[in-house]
């Protein structure tokens, strides 16, 4: 997707990283690059975080991604990125990796979001689903929410804002600098969530 013609539309270009160790990172990059003034880059090495104003941790296999985060010493750089109050969004496996606690597991998480998470909460792939729902804060238009072997948030810090629930189960939360969704906006044709995320970065006082 070329978007060079959009540059110079009055806004400074921002660079958004997408963690590209494994999973659906290309889909996020393609979505971000369709947004005016946004330059999306794959992040495969910690040093590449330095040029980014925001980061997406994509969907994929959380076990594999956790392993690669460890091998390539990404944990501390991502925590530092968060401590610099830059904006991070995790989708599905990305949300799992951002959580403080995962039900039934003792593995070390990134621990960015003060939540407890349950993996594969809806069951197996046979229970994956798509729903259409309005999330007013994100868009005035109902969005397709794609849940694939999705997790849910079973406990959360009261300071977090709940963005969406599916049958009383929390599937999206946010704070000033963090966004977590159990579903996959990058697998739809809509840019609404990605635009929301980019605006969150633009409105962040720590964005250069």
């Amino acid at each position: 997707m070329q978007k060079k013609w959009l540059i110079g539309a009055g806004k400074m270009e921002i660079t958004v990283g997408v963690l590209a160790l494994q999973g659906g990172f290309r889909e996020h990059i393609d979505h971000l690059n369709r947004i005016r003034g946004t330059n999306a880059v794959p992040v495969k090495k910690p040093v590449e975080l330095q040029k980014c104003s925001g980061l997406i941790i994509p969907g994929g296999e959380s076990t594999t991604m956790r392993k690669l985060i460890e091998s390539y010493k990404f944990k501390q750089p991502i925590i530092n990125f968060y401590q610099q109050q830059k904006v991070i969004w995790g989708t599905c496996a990305g949300l799992i990796l951002m959580a403080k606690e995962v039900e039934g597991e003792n593995e070390d998480q990134l621990g960015l979001l003060d939540i407890k998470i349950k993996r594969n909460a809806f069951g197996s792939q046979l229970d994956s689903f798509v729903e259409r729902n309005l999330i007013k804060k994100v868009s005035n238009i109902p969005q397709e929410l794609v849940f694939i072997r999705a997790p849910i948030i079973t406990k959360f810090n009261q300071k977090l804002e709940i963005l969406h629930k599916k049958d009383k189960q929390i599937t999206a939360v946010e704070s000033d600098c963090l966004l977590g969704t159990a579903f996959h906006p990058e697998l739809t044709d809509s840019l609404a969530f990605h635009e929301y995320f980019v605006n969150k970065i633009r409105n962040n006082k720590n964005t250069k």
Partner: protein
Amino acid sequence: MSEKYRLNKNLAQMLKGGVIMDVTNAEEAKIAEDAGAVAVMALEKVPADIRKEGGIARMSDPKMIKEIVETVSIPVMAKVRIGHFVEAQILEALKIDYIDESEVLTPADEAHHIDKRNFNIPFVCGATNLGEALRRIGEGAAMIRTKGEAGTGNVVEAVRHMRKIKSQINRLINMGSEELMAAAKEMRAPFNLVEYAARNGKLPVVNFAAGGIATPADAALMMQLGCDGIFVGSGIFRSGNPVKRAEAIVKATTHYQDPQIVAEVSEDLGKAMSGIDINGLTDAEKMADRGW
């Protein structure tokens, strides 16, 4: 497109950039998971042993598949014979995550592949060229892989299939709309899928490399040729140091564009599987010719 099919295609997208490893027991499955595999393929014998031992290769024992499902948290795949829809019904009942309708097993039907639209579980199928890939997708496959000669440790066939698919897509891209029906006729592929490939410059599902991948360099080669991810069969557990080789292939798949890292992980891996020259195989021994 049904919602279930869309979700199955989406599920396969989440495996991208990952390595799927053949395992024959729970212990190997655990090693694969710890090494960073995105999924495991549960089977009784790896292709190299199937070749050695001969006879009819069938779906694996459900007991062994269940043990593997219980051992790992990553998705589990298992193989059925081409056309053997009852083996597929059994695997669906076992609630594994994917079925591979595979030429590595002895085909059960010489004329028909499984009508995969009758199932809720996602299928992966092999393809040697674009027409074959689109026929399998037309039957409902949610994921495609090359049909490299399994169990040979020789990557040449996987390369051939990937290059063939790419060049056929490139030809479609440059065709006028009136030429597409003729192309569909020539490739014996569903017209709507030919049209999709021409308009989008890619398959409508993910495409992994499979067959003959034995080294980190092989994995990086297939990724640079445009594959979305890697299957490794006999290459890991028939090599000198499976743990180290498995980790190395995972890292080379993530960093396929970084020769420095591929070089580092290629060091001191012990003996690779010895391999077989494909020119030495008779037609009957070539698995890629099974199915159509």
